[in-house]
Structures are given as structure tokens and as C-alpha cells.
């Protein structure tokens, strides 16, 4: 079996695994829709007072909210992707089995996470977005080019998202209990991706900084591509650069961690 086929199989496995939990998916759609509703109303109140805040009009702000709810699970912005399982395996020592496999640890988990991402995009992301688009006035592009560019930005966002979470998961080799790290990752994800408030609404230097952090690749950048507010190629370059840096750092940390691993008997 070629290694390409191996990882493709892992991706399909990841997709099917998450697809098994149908009730959980429906529950997730419901929850995302409720949160979307709350956010839409607060954003509308905000844009009522300040139309064109952050360069968005009302319809764009509404679109941004529903895109955020669609991508929250897809990109595991607050965590809860495959990294939770990897952390558990590191804690219990099961990771030794993963290391024993004739496959690369990082690629294996990346493939699995990609499968999860794709399922959650289709299973959890599309419905709240469609609901939002039907109930509220939204600003969607009319040309296929923009949609295609958005999908590329989304794929790059998946790589960046995995890059961040893989790094955090590997820290479990040193910390063992990953709860604290997971939560810090969650709040960085929520705040710096633009999920709570679009990053272009952030004032002054704070805005300049968060827009340069890797998390802006997750929601703000793909959203700006979809809303026609960004230079597409520069966005790709930005996301691609972060993906490379994070995945390379993950590889370095992985080699440090695997040298360190001592499998406890039993």
C-alpha cells in the first residue's frame, strides 16, 4: 500500500468516525444556530450604532457571524479535534503503539484531523450557515472564483489549525495532564481567530497584533476572502507561511518528544 493511500484511508476513517455520531451532530448544529442567533443580534445592535464598523456593512457582519459558527467545529477553533485523543494517548502511554506503526506520527494525525474537519464542515457547518443565510440578510459572492478562493483559504486554515493543536498536544509529553493547555488554547482560539468579534473591529495596536497571529488564518482571513475584502494571494501567502512554520515546529517538537518518551511497563 502506497503511503499516499495509507493516509487517504486514515482521512476517510476520520471522516466516517465522526459521521457515526449523528445525534451529536444534530445537537451541534442546534447549538451553533443558537449561538449564531445571539451573536447576530449583538452585532446588529453594534452595526446599528456604527454602520460600516471595521469596513463591513450589516449584511457582511451577519455573514461573518454565520461563517464563524460554520467554521467553529470544522476548524476546531476552540480545540476538541483529534488532539484531545492524541493527548489522552500520550497520557496513558498508548502513543507507544502509534510510534510503532510504519507511519509518520504527524502525518497520521493530520490525515485523521482532515477527515474530521471535512465531516464537520459538511455535517455541522453547512446547516447553521444556510439557516443564517435564509433568515437574515447576508452578503454572499455571486462568482464561482470567490467561492473557489474561499475553499482554498479554508483548506489552508485546516492546516494552520492542525499545526497549532498538534503543538499543544505534544506538550502533553512534558505536562502529562493537558487540561490547562487545552483551555489556554481554547481561549486563544476564540479570541484571536475573530470568533468573538471580527479582528478588523479591534482597535489600534491590539488589532494590528492579532491580525498577524496564526489564529487570524482560521476565521478572519477566510471570511475576508469570502466577503471580498481581502487580497486573495496575500491571504494564501500569509496562511501558507503560518502553516509551514507551525507544521515544521510540530516536527521538531515531535522528534524531541519521541526521543524523550519512556514507555511505562504494563
Amino acid at each position: 500500500m502506497g503511503s499516499g493511500r495509507l493516509y487517504a484511508a486514515v482521512t476517510v476513517g476520520g471522516f466516517r468516525r465522526y459521521a457515526t455520531y449523528r445525534t451529536a451532530t444534530v445537537a451541534g448544529v442546534f447549538t451553533n444556530t443558537v449561538f449564531g442567533l445571539i451573536l447576530v443580534y449583538t452585532y446588529l445592535a453594534l452595526w446599528d450604532v456604527r454602520p460600516h464598523l471595521g469596513g463591513y456593512d450589516r449584511a457582511q457582519a451577519v455573514t461573518y457571524v454565520w461563517l464563524g459558527q460554520a467554521l467553529l467545529a470544522t476548524l476546531a477553533i476552540g480545540g476538541s479535534g483529534v488532539e484531545t485523543e492524541l493527548m489522552e494517548r500520550i497520557r496513558t502511554g498508548d502513543v507507544a503503539v502509534d510510534l510503532y506503526r510504519p507511519a509518520d506520527l504527524q502525518l497520521w494525525w493530520f490525515a485523521a484531523d482532515l477527515g474530521r474537519s471535512l465531516f464537520q464542515l459538511l455535517g455541522r457547518g453547512v446547516l447553521p450557515f444556510v439557516f443564517g443565510a435564509l433568515v437574515f440578510p447576508v452578503a454572499l459572492p455571486h462568482d464561482w472564483g470567490t467561492w473557489a478562493a474561499f475553499l482554498v483559504a479554508l483548506a489552508l486554515a485546516m492546516a494552520v489549525s492542525f499545526g497549532i493543536r498538534y503543538l499543544v498536544a505534544l506538550l502533553s509529553f512534558w505536562l502529562l495532564d493537558g487540561t490547562g493547555m487545552t483551555q489556554i488554547m481554547m481561549l486563544a482560539g476564540f479570541f484571536c481567530s475573530g470568533l468573538m468579534l471580527p479582528l478588523n473591529v479591534f482597535p489600534g495596536a491590539l488589532g494590528d497584533v492579532v491580525r498577524l497571529l496564526p489564529w487570524s488564518s482560521l476565521l478572519q482571513r477566510p471570511a475576508d476572502v469570502l466577503l471580498g475584502e481581502a487580497d486573495v494571494w496575500r491571504t494564501f501567502a500569509f496562511q501558507g507561511a503560518w502553516a509551514l512554520v507551525l507544521l515544521a515546529a510540530g516536527r521538531l517538537l515531535q522528534s524531541a518528544a519521541t526521543r524523550r518518551v519512556v514507555v511505562q511497563g504494563g
Partner: protein, 267 residues
């Protein structure tokens, strides 16, 4: 009841000891719990860096709503927040272990994985509330001062009822634990903003159907000298404890029904 509280205390103490085994992680997660809610408030501050009022409410009054919502929810979450994990116990069969123990199941489930780190949320809400109390420019007469702890405890009671009802629901829909988040975390987020921001239908829903409005919107309107949402008469502002008691009773019924309907997975 007394037995239930004793069991709850013992299990909670056990989990606190267990948490302290990974002290670095405990410090980090308490800090994270504090910060994750603080970021909610930072988002509000960022909004107010661009506007002077949201839905006609100035920052100090929104902070007041935020503080009440956050402390009430934080207390409920600290006390029985782990109940949202019930679905998982049903799924993997570990609930059976709790059923055979000679102790009330509700107390065991409520204290399961008791997380002291959740104090972070309560502390953060209390700090904002403390600031807001001085900033809102209310003449704090004795009745108003006395009403504050009543409001906070009633709010915590209402959220506790939501947690218990949500757990009861998970007996039926085991994988659907996320639906509960829409009402717990969604509820506290909703209440951080003034009712004037939301559509009338939504406000009606959280007043008459799922009475979250009694956590802060209704009593806070009285305390701040604003008209009550939906033009409710003034005396309604004092009914939060009654609403909390009613919710508690209903969720207790739901819990018993859920527990009775439980069939073990057998694994």
C-alpha cells in the same frame, strides 16, 4: 437530602484532592477559566471602544448585567456543572457503577469531576460586578442592597435547574449533550447583553418558556430604574426566587423521569 449533601461533599473533596495532584495544570486551568470569561468581557469592552451604548444601555449597565449573569452561572457551574457529562456516562456504561452505590445518584453525578478551577469564572464575574455596582450610579437603598444576594442565588438556582434538566434530557438523547450548551453557555452569553438588543420573540421565549430573564434582565431593570422587559409590571422584579424554586421543582421531576427511563447499555 442531608445524606445527598454529605455524599456530595465527600465526592467533591475527593476530586479536589485529585486535581491537586497535577498542580501546574490546576493553576493553568483556573487561570484559563478566569481568562476565558474575562475575554467575553474584553469583547464587550472592545465593542464599547467603538460605541457609547448597545441597545441604549451604557457600558456600566451592560457590565452590571454581565456581572450578574456571570456570577450566577459561575456558581451553578461550580456546584453541578459536571452534570453535562452524564451522557458520556450513560454511553460508556459507567453510570451503572453509581446506581449500585448506596448514595443518591443526583448527588454523585453532580459532584462527579468537581472542578474547583471553575472558581475562576465566579471570581471574574464578581470583579466586573463589583466595578459595575459602583459605576451604575444607582442610589443603593437597603432594599436594593438586600435584593442583590437574593438575585445572585436565584440566578444560580435557575441555572442549576437548567443543568439538571439538561442532564435528565441526556438519558433520552445520550449523544446530544451539546444541546445543553445552547441553554447553559448560550444562556449566560445571552444575558450578558441588554434585552433591547434582541428580538421581542426571543425575549418572550426566555421570559415565559425558559425563564432565564429572571436571572438578571428582570431584577436588574428594577435595580437600574429601567422599565422591565416586555412591559412587565414592577412587582415581577422580585419574583426571581419563586421562579428559581419552580424551575428547581420541574427539573427535579424531569430528573426522576429520566432516571426511571434509564436502561443500561449492558457494557
Amino acid at each position: 437530602m442531608a445524606e445527598g449533601l454529605r455524599v456530595y461533599r465527600l465526592i467533591a473533596a475527593m476530586w479536589i484532592r485529585s486535581t491537586m495532584a497535577y498542580r501546574a495544570s490546576f493553576v493553568m486551568s483556573t487561570f484559563a477559566s478566569f481568562t476565558v470569561t474575562a475575554l467575553d468581557f474584553v469583547a464587550i469592552l472592545l465593542m464599547f471602544s467603538r460605541v457609547d451604548a448597545l441597545g441604549g444601555w451604557p457600558l456600566s449597565e451592560v457590565a452590571f448585567l454581565y456581572g450578574l449573569s456571570c456570577v450566577s452561572f459561575g456558581l451553578a457551574d461550580l456546584a453541578i456543572g459536571s452534570m453535562e457529562r452524564l451522557g458520556q456516562r450513560v454511553r460508556d456504561g459507567t453510570l451503572d457503577t453509581l446506581l449500585v452505590r448506596p448514595a443518591p445518584v443526583l448527588a454523585q453525578v453532580a459532584a462527579d469531576r468537581f472542578g474547583l478551577r471553575r472558581l475562576g469564572r465566579v471570581t471574574q464575574g464578581a470583579l466586573v460586578l463589583g466595578w459595575a455596582v459602583t459605576a451604575v450610579g444607582v442610589d443603593w437603598t437597603l432594599p436594593k442592597v438586600l435584593l442583590m444576594p437574593v438575585v445572585l442565588l436565584s440566578g444560580a438556582g435557575i441555572f442549576c435547574a437548567v443543568f439538571v434538566a439538561g442532564a435528565a434530557f441526556q438519558f433520552v438523547a445520550q449523544d446530544a449533550s451539546e444541546v445543553q450548551n445552547a441553554f447553559t453557555y448560550g444562556g449566560t452569553t445571552l444575558l450578558q447583553y441588554p434585552p433591547t438588543v434582541f428580538g421581542t420573540e426571543l425575549v418572550r421565549g426566555v421570559t415565559f418558556v425558559l425563564p432565564l430573564a429572571f436571572v438578571n434582565w428582570v431584577p436588574a431593570a428594577y435595580l437600574l430604574g429601567r422599565p422591565l422587559p416586555l412591559d412587565l409590571p414592577g412587582w415581577v422584579a422580585f419574583t426571581s426566587p419563586l421562579v428559581a424554586a419552580g424551575c428547581g421543582a420541574l427539573s427535579g421531576v424531569a430528573w426522576r423521569a429520566g432516571l426511571r427511563s434509564y436502561r443500561s447499555t449492558g457494557s
